[in-house]
Symmetry: C2
Amino acid sequence: MARTDGTGAESPRERYRSQVREEIKAHAWEQIATAGASALSVNAIARRMGLSGPALYRYFAGRDELITELVRDAYRSLADALGAAAAGGADLSGLAHALRGWALADPQRYFLVYGTPVPGYHAPADTTAVADEVMRTLVDACAALAPAGPEAGEAPFATHLLGHRDWAGEQPAPPEVLHRFLVFWTRLHGVLSLELAGHFTGMGFRPELLFEAELESLLAPRF
Amino acid sequence: MARTDGTGAESPRERYRSQVREEIKAHAWEQIATAGASALSVNAIARRMGLSGPALYRYFAGRDELITELVRDAYRSLADALGAAAAGGADLSGLAHALRGWALADPQRYFLVYGTPVPGYHAPADTTAVADEVMRTLVDACAALAPAGPEAGEAPFATHLLGHRDWAGEQPAPPEVLHRFLVFWTRLHGVLSLELAGHFTGMGFRPELLFEAELESLLAPRF
DNA sequence: TGTACATCAGTGAACGCGCGTTCACTGATGTAC
DNA sequence: TGTACATCAGTGAACGCGCGTTCACTGATGTAC
């Protein structure tokens, strides 16, 4: 409300505010990377920034709103990463590598979105909208792929999907396309989550090669 | 030391002790299911049992030891579930269903083993021994399966595994067998973890059918 | 079998700690005339 | 340009809370003669 000229330009104060907000979130991510999301503390962030605890309440209504904002940002950045790849002409394989890059860049961010849920916590409605955006990008890339074998649409699970694809929007893609999307999601998540959780450390093989092998498997006509 | 007759029989006090220990752990699991592992509180458990907080220190050195014990039990019960299935003649498919049953029986227990790691926490050495036991059971079942296609051993990832299979013991299985084991692990974990985390809710399809489809895919000669 | 003693489960008070959050304030920054 | 005023970022004290953990204790249970 500080400006009424309708240009949308930010006043210095508004600029400062959003700058500090970002700085708070940056410290929050740092803390999450160190001790996990459940250990996130408003006071600890303030301390690290050289501020008193209550100061942060100028920028966030409380701890919950801060966490919600972090979840929102995480979803948003994933949607942007995949969207940018798709806009740059990436096919399903390219999106897989974009996903992997995004996950490796910040494992705790990946886990905040796809990791162990906190019982009782429910994501706000607008994050599911972003999740839909991610889904649509991936489904589109699946649809653009060379079609699956002719019998793929008659596989038991594809048949089941035929009657349960409301989640895929108004004009849902064919069941074998949706099936491939789900396989893309679950297979790559399977490798990524175990890799990021450290379950492969000490085994000696290179996880990215397993990722590539799984990617190949789901790109095949018979996935 | 209460008994010296070497029979290994427990004195009433010893019996009582282990009984209370189990009761504490049962309440701990209940609390984990309600609010997640990071919210586990010694005092809250004591309260629920009608005891004072310090009383639990007769049974556990502290919160950390209690959690470690829970992790150990979780691994142990998975190894037992799979071991029992294998002893009962279950093939790889049977083990997959045993795994799924174990996971669904207590999602938070599954997540304690395979979920988001707490940065900094390292599992004690003897849990990795149980993890090895689980692995061996699964690898054996993979080896007992009808062999993969002849070209499976020459796939890029199998070739890589040929040089990196120390984790599979003294006489490691052939690379295509190990590859199938890893695919078993990652694909089924991919479906299970997303399902248990609730990422499929609202989509309407039945997750167990996706699980079955993924299981079929990895049983195929060309997985 | 009865008695003296040792073991040990459980208590209540207390410790220091860090948390989220509120409140009344001060002082700097920006706005209006 | 200078002055009066409003806005608002940040402070310090305080709140109640629950946590993990220690300690000296009491009283019941089990053991030894």
